[in-house]
């Protein structure tokens, strides 16, 4: 039997929540009002330091694991029972905003701090988690912490990954752990009872529909590829056009077709070439090599699979006289979230009076990797103009608080407190 909910359990402290978010936004703040807090950077260490300080003040126990995930636990009666997890990530894109990732961590933290302050002792631990390197901008590809935790990717391979300056995850991860020598270590991949992640939508739907809460039904599928186009360098002033194997010319031909055929498939496809490098990238040298990262997403796994194959064919067909190599990287099918948790989120939004709707996540999230392990779900709040991964990314304080109130409501049964 759950105890009936007391009034103080229903709402978090909206002002304190916002202050925490803005305090974290100052760590890695950019002149343009955004945040540059790369995975395993000094800025992320600073964010850990701040959150661990708050945790200790709020009676939450900090710990970490071999993958550099941060856990802040509200201790339960049975410390060995599988804990409930809620969170997201603290790292940002190079020119990212103040909400992507960090919102889900701070929302979980504030919900747990609220429970802790009310003297709640849940039947099992409830843990705020910050997964390591969700963004994948410094060390690619991302979601390293949740993938290592879920056993999707081996920690050894993750540790060997290097950033653009040649610094490895291993070096940076060891430095992070060394900065917090007293932190208890949890084993990688311990059993979880359930997982909930709050996040800004990173799209325009909730705003356009006038809804405060998105009950996320699942995450659209994603494939990424590295395409390397190999040609031959030469002198821009002397090498006849007919004799050239210009890697950038081949890229332009290929890319024009990809944007048209793959990017024009239907209204649901998302096709992006986000990163490109040219070698030697000198003004008067015919380019010898072009390497690009392709990001392809579609909610329908069959369509996604077909587009991935078509993409590969187009690269090979239009590369001549150069040679294209297509290396598949991420291959994450669309997944659906737990039905009961979706209902719980919807019920919480309804009882709090927040307009809500079911929505598919177009962006990938760490929750993708929790879903196969335990009942998992996500709560979305709107972001202005659907803009994310940009310095002017913005969420309204009222929406930030509403999403956290909903999260708190969803956690109450796991805290042994009735939400009715």
């Amino acid at each position: 039997m759950l105890a009936p909910v007391a009034p103080g359990f229903r709402r978090i402290d909206a002002d304190r929540l916002w202050e925490r978010l803005m305090a974290l936004a100052r760590i890695g703040a950019t002149p343009g009002g955004g945040v540059n807090r790369q995975a395993l950077s000094n800025e992320e260490i600073g964010a850990w330091r701040l959150m661990i300080g708050w945790a200790e003040a709020a009676g939450l126990e900090p710990s970490t694991d071999a993958a550099g995930n941060l856990f802040l636990a509200l201790p339960g009666v049975d410390r060995d029972a599988p804990p409930m997890l809620a969170g997201s990530h603290l790292d940002s894109q190079p020119g990212g905003g103040r909400f992507d990732g960090v919102y889900g961590v701070v929302a979980a933290f504030e919900a747990l701090a609220t429970l802790s302050e009310r003297g709640v002792r849940p039947p099992q631990d409830i843990v705020c988690v910050a997964w390591m390197n969700e963004e994948g901008s410094r060390f690619a590809p991302g979601m390293m912490g949740s993938e290592a935790f879920a056993g999707v990717r081996a920690l050894e391979g993750i540790r060997a990954t290097r950033d653009a300056d040649g610094v490895s995850v291993a070096q940076s991860l060891d430095a992070l752990h060394a900065a917090f020598p007293a932190l208890r270590r949890r084993p990688l991949g311990f059993v979880i009872r359930a997982y909930v992640e709050a996040h800004i939508e990173q799209g325009p739907v909730l705003e356009a529909e006038g809804r405060t809460i998105g009950v996320v039904t699942g995450i659209q599928g994603k494939k990424t590829f590295d395409i390397a186009i190999a040609g031959a360098r030469g002198h821009a002033g002397t090498l006849d056009m007919a004799d050239r194997r210009d890697a950038l010319a081949a890229f332009a031909r290929i890319a024009a077709r990809l944007y048209e055929e793959i990017g024009g498939e239907d209204a649901l496809v998302k096709f992006t070439i986000g990163r490109l490098t040219v070698e030697p990238n000198a003004p008067s040298v015919v380019p010898e090599r072009v390497t690009v990262r392709i990001d392809l997403r579609h909610p329908d796994n069959a369509v996604l699979g077909r587009l991935g194959e078509r993409l590969t064919v187009l690269c090979h067909t239009h590369a001549a006289p150069c040679v294209a190599t297509v290396i598949p990287l991420v291959d994450a099918p669309s997944n659906g979230f737990d039905g009961e948790l979706q209902d719980a989120i919807e019920q919480a939004a309804k009882s709090l009076g927040h307009p809500h709707m079911r929505i598919l996540s177009a962006a990938g999230h760490d929750a993708r990797h929790m879903a196969p392990l335990c009942p998992s779900a996500m709560i979305f709040i709107p972001c202005r103009d659907g803009v994310s991964h940009a310095e002017h990314e913005w969420a309204e304080p009222a929406h930030v608080a509403a999403g956290t109130d909903v999260l708190l409501r969803v956690l109450l049964p796991y805290a042994g407190v009735s939400s009715t």
Copy 2:
């Protein structure tokens, strides 16, 4: 009256010439057998140190000017009379070869050393010159030394140019001069009697025609442009394709048309996009900005002008929904070299028994900027497969010697020595 030529004046020391070239190739040597000796770098300072040492041993007087050009003078009877100049440049492309530029400097040096050793005292100075930053790969655009000397570009603007690391020409130039504090300073733009530059062809014509010496008739016209394409960044997983202003997608559309229409104009056009930067260049962010450098060349000034205009129109036409800005940089029309000097080069090749032909230079050279100042000309030798700006760039030792013998012959009348 010129004194008749003694046998020793007719030929340079081919082995020593080759050894000097290979000694310079070790300064900035790359693992792939090429050279990376950027303008005003420590490697170029090393090349100066080596050449100044050789000069002092050979009785040549080193000096410099405010633009960082290096002069090694065989002193003449009248030190105030306008000197004869011969040379090229010591800087290379990032993955350049062992001959582009440095060959013309070493050939001029070896010719002067030969005259000096024979005790020749010319009526006026004959000067070996190494022009600063011909390549323009570290500091763009290139030909800084010869343009500053010729008054084509102001030294102030040149000094303000910065490399990719933010280091200015001013800083690097001052460091170069500081490394040689005892070096005498010549005024910028002193009067020159004539100018001859030896160079590898950087094209396939001489090799295909089986000729050792190219009598260069002129340099094809060249235009360069910076194209900036401005869009808007967004999340690769959430921003609908219809709502995107993807700068890289706009580039692909524009570039595909440029390669086809401009690059396909005729058999003589040379169209290159050598350098490209993407911002923010992150895997899951829709690109906000693409900047490219375009290099366009054609021997016919009317065609070159028309193509430049067409290029600008194509950029604007195909940029939507992004915005393209076209910034014209270099605008160098085709130019012809001095007829009498061309005849002298041809005569020298003939009397030395080297197969020769008249040839238009497809590549730009510092000689372009000397031609308006004084009678100027160039001597080409073949390079294997026409390859240049590449680590495996290669010239046969016999051709290297032949070009230098021809240069020496052309210099003899300026040395007061009859070449008959």
